[in-house]
Amino acid sequence: MENGKLEVKSKGRSVVKIFLALFAIHCTLLTATAQIAVRGETVWTMAGAPITNGVVLVNNGKIEAVGSATQVQIPAGYRTITAKVVTPGLIDAHTVIGLNGYLNQPHDQMALDGGASIQPELRATDAYNAEERLILWVREFGVTTIHTGHQPSALVPGQTMIAKTWGKNVDEATIVPTAMVAVVLGSAATAPAGRSPGTRAKQMAMLRAELIKAQENAAKKEPAKDLKSEIMSRVIKGEVRLLVTAHRDQDIISALRLAKEFNLKIVLDGASDAPLVINEIKASGFPVIIHPTMARPGGDQANLSLETAAKLKAAGIPVALQSGYEGYVPKTRVVLFEAAIAAANGLSRSDALALITIDAAKILGIDKRVGSLEVGKDADIAMYDGDPFEYTTRATGTIINGRVVSEVVR
């Protein structure tokens, strides 16, 4: 019967998958990258207006040409893939997948070490599983780049990294091994009873002490070279930014105060109460990676709103969207879905798409490579059979570094 059919299909598909995988390896051996022409009824380049009947040429892993079908001829020998809507590969500006897995069992949850409250030396790259199913899952919806790392559940839980969602291993997937150092303020950073920090004031005292130590160390003739000192000296010199998760308005203000005192570069993360302190954020010049649009209200996030992204954008604050951290079901959100809700709540389609493409790339500092469909950039492309934001539209394919990495219809 039909459900049997589904099952058979899925078994059949894995056989096909294995075959395709072997074939892909074979092709890789022959030619490192394919030459592909992606045709779309609508091509959102995110570098100018969307193109009707557009073509994106892919060669050697990069975008070779972008334009309308009348401007761009498809050379002989290029594989042509057609889609209703074509966008740049999506960027998830903050997640924990790869470190945390879909099973949600102790052995696949590597985004938090409970040993200490301040551990900036923990590298995300040492915990990243490039073959985690959740990475495959978001890739099939068009997500091609993720900023991932330690989860926002301790004062300084560790570092973050930026990776493509394709790669046989962490080295192949990674774009930026150390992107930022995560800092968490508020309830989520409160340590278990009997350990510090137990209050918000203690959190700030501990952070300030750590940063003063880093300043003093940096001023030494022979600075200490232990792991923590090394990364903290990069922070204090402004080489590595702090990703400060702060939801309540008072925590956001604390983050801005800290940045000012130590002349730090920070990215605000979560920021549920951002609309309450929008002028202060705007004045700081720091960007915001806003909470998932559909995040659950409650606790420090009681005031979160579907309209926050639109409000920040209107104020001229650089803003991107994240899938965030989930402790249970669903184990990850999908930024495509979150941006869709933002598009239905005050943002234009174009501005909502920017939250998960070019604006995210700019905030993460990777816009030279990804985030838009422009000549010379990485050939990271997402394809859909309609408006990507509609619930009923399906993702039809994903290309990363010029490789077709998904042709599953989702």
Binding site: M1, E2, N3, G4, L6, E7, G101, Y102, L103, N104, Q105, R133, L134, W137, V138, D273, P275, L276, M294, R296, P297, G298, A302, N303, L304, S305, L306, E307, E326, Y328, V329, P330, K331, T332, R333, V334, F337, A340, I341, A343, A344, N345, F389, E390, Y391, T392, T393, R394, R410
Partner: protein
Amino acid sequence: MNRTTFILAGLLAIATTVATAQERPTAFTNARIITISGATIERGTLVIHNGKIVSVGNAATASIPSGAVMIDATGKTIMPGLVDTHSHVGGAAGADGTSPIQPDIRILDSINARSASLQRAQAGGITTVNVMPGSGHLDSGQTLYLKLRDGAVKIDDLLIYDSSGKYLGGIKFANGTNAIRAGGGAFPGTRAKSAALVREQFIKAQEYRDKIAKAAGDATKLPPRDLAMEALVEVLERRRVVHFHTHRHDDIMTALRLAKEFNFRIVLQHVSEAWKVADEIAKANAPSSIILIDSPGGKLESVDIDFRNGLALERAGALVGFHTDDGITDSRWFLRSAGLAVRAGMSREKALYGMTMAGAIMLDLDKRVGSLDAGKDADLIILSGDPLSVYTHILETWVEGKKVFDRSNPKDHLIAVGGKGAGDDDGGHHDIHCFDGDGGNE
């Protein structure tokens, strides 16, 4: 205003509201009307009066009672209020940690009727909801079917009664991993033990039922009252539906096996691996209430959850409804579940049926809610467009002829989108401001 005057004013306000509702019918005109029970009417008129639907029909031929309040719904879509077959709105907790099977527990005794989560459900177009205790037990207690009426002061204001005056609800069972506790004392350590513990209780309930029958009304021969047994006897007599939390295909089969052995009525809840056993579910004639989750996993039982569950069950011919499991998914975007099911191949018709009528059937409320038909409760939602589009907003929610959510009202808009104050529990602000000015502050 002194306290007495104030109370009098409040009572007068209630009386006025009730009187108004009874006096004038309301006619929604020029709307696209998705009736669920019949064909969609492209330009239709819906008339409601005294909390009931009076008529649904084509705008050209509809008769509108004189004196009706006219609401022009041109460009808008009206459909039945949504039925959420499994939710945890109201912040309730059911059974405690002492034992795995607690049929005597009533969620009735635990819900906060003023919880903001109930208002969010109204914003999501939910008019009828099955509020359940959790799934950390084999049986965590009795569930409650609620109408999300406005201005509830206490849980009694939201109950649904049958013709005999009994309020309606089911009972929650669960299998799989949630109730399994390593070294958990009275709690099971394995799936087989879980089933054995449940069977043991039902056999006890059969004996209890037989003793009562044998007593034939003789009070001296009746067994002592046992609240847990009383609830299970209702299950055995098919008067109380079992809402069975079950994810994995083998657990689904176990739930069906138990339902068959003890001849109880079952609604399968979650059914994450329904796509693997859809034919078996259909053959057992078991309704399924499914949930659409943004990614697989998060727990071992749901690693194979699939957006295609709705499609597979529809193809197999099984009855499919949906639920939020709020807070797992938020009631405000309940309609999204149907959208995602259609994305994975389910028909639009069955998906919308699943959001409304299928749920009504699962809660034994299909005579009263689930479709827009004359004589049914006037539970409806007004939408800005296609119910399956992300860009569509729920503009209004009506329960029994009364508007309980209005997106154009700033307070309701805040509940719908969130923001400062949106999470505050309702102090009864909607109609009666009993505490405004109280205590001599005016």
